[in-house]
């Protein structure tokens, strides 16, 4: 595929995603924040649904050697980076996706957050140029590199190569875990709903 076609495909994908996000008010920040702060799961359920479909889809195609899985070494920086990101997204009230989606709805606050995301990235580029950590993609080996606090590269496909079990099998295990979580949320929502209905009934009886 030529770069222009790649960019067109990406734009088309992004447009449909943006439209669906805008119409459904899905927000990945809310999926985590609301579950933690308010014990509501509207967005969490949607996130789990996508993850279930993707786990089966990705590992299924990876079993056949198809698709383009991400390939880079991970390590302490992966945890630390997302930790900072997690704080940032709750403070900003939006993640990278919803900053674009909400900016598209005319929100100047998220546009501001986006500008400072760029500033944060530029600041990081200066820090990296000073300490050269985490290792650049060119010097990643895929193997653990403990002095650099790197654990290397592993995914369903490397498991398949090492253990001779199709990637999809691991995917189905993960799918089962996600499904159990999804069903636990549904049970919890039903319990919340019943409690709420009972409170209302009691309130109307005393009135």
């Amino acid at each position: 595929m030529t770069p222009v076609v790649e960019c067109l495909v990406a734009f088309l994908f992004g447009s449909v995603v943006g439209l669906l996000m805008q119409r459904s008010r899905f927000c990945n920040t809310a999926a985590l924040r609301d579950a933690i702060m308010f014990k509501t799961y509207r967005n969490t359920k949607a996130m789990l649904m996508a993850m279930m479909i993707l786990t089966v889809g990705f590992t299924g195609f990876m079993s056949l050697g198809a698709g383009h899985p991400m390939r880079f070494d991970v390590g302490l920086n992966t945890f630390a980076g997302l930790f900072l990101f997690g704080i940032g997204m709750v403070l900003a009230g939006a993640c990278t996706v919803s900053t674009w989606v909400k900016t598209g709805e005319g929100n100047l606050g998220t546009l501001w957050a986006l500008l400072f995301t760029f500033v944060g990235m530029f600041l990081f580029s200066l820090v990296w140029s000073w300490n050269w950590w985490p290792p650049a993609p060119q010097s990643m080996t895929g193997e653990p590199n403990l002095p650099a606090l790197q654990l290397g590269f592993a995914n369903a496909q490397t498991l398949q190569e090492k253990l001779g079990v199709p990637a999809l099998v691991f995917g189905l295990v993960q799918f089962a875990v996600l499904l159990a979580l999804y069903r636990a949320i549904l049970r919890r929502e039903r319990a919340q709903h019943e409690k709420h209905a009972q409170h209302q009934k009691e309130a109307s009886e005393t009135a």
């Binding site: 994908f13 992004g14 997690g86 654990l151």
Partner: protein, 163 residues
């Protein structure tokens, strides 16, 4: 059209996005955000600094700015799709945070997100919709990080809200 009058069930919306993401995974790679933004940062910095930008090793070695990077266009697409959706459903209007504390939180939040994405090489989208479904070790590290971060963020957020 009904689609532009009623709010869509997010479970349905995300299921549809997941199916599209599988096609994207087969063609280019899983849905990702952050790489495009880094490239935009690089292109903007290049517009300001010119060739001097190449004196900062990061932009010379890790991310060489070039405009035909597909990830940029996912982000432009999301903006465009959301804009069209908002206009057609008459939900587009200028929204401006009012309080100074909100502006402060947004500024800090943006900085932390940008710095964190580059430190980890990924953002929340790649974590949940890319690495975890690929069962990449990094997905589990990233998920632990983002859950811990969201919890800390929630504590700070509550403190600020309660003043």
């Amino acid at each position: 059209m009904e689609f532009f009058r009623k709010t869509l069930d997010p479970v349905f919306a995300l299921a549809a996005i997941a199916v599209l993401d599988i096609f994207l995974f087969l063609l280019l790679g899983a849905w990702t955000v952050g790489g495009g933004e880094t490239m935009m940062t690089g292109l903007l910095a290049q517009a300001v600094l010119g060739e001097d930008l190449m004196r900062i090793p990061f932009w010379n070695i890790v991310f060489r700015p070039h405009a035909d990077y597909w990830k940029i266009y996912i982000s432009f697409g999301m903006f465009f799709g959301a804009f069209v959706g908002a206009v057609l459903s008459k939900e587009f209007y200028w929204r401006v945070p009012r309080r100074a504390s909100e502006w402060l939180m947004i500024t800090l939040g943006g900085l932390l997100m940008g710095f964190g994405i580059r430190l980890a090489y990924i953002c929340n989208v790649s974590t949940f919709f890319g690495l975890l479904p690929e069962m990449n070790l990094g997905g589990y590290l990233a998920m632990s990080g983002i859950l811990a971060g969201a919890w800390v963020g929630s504590v700070i957020y509550k403190k600020i809200l309660e003043g």
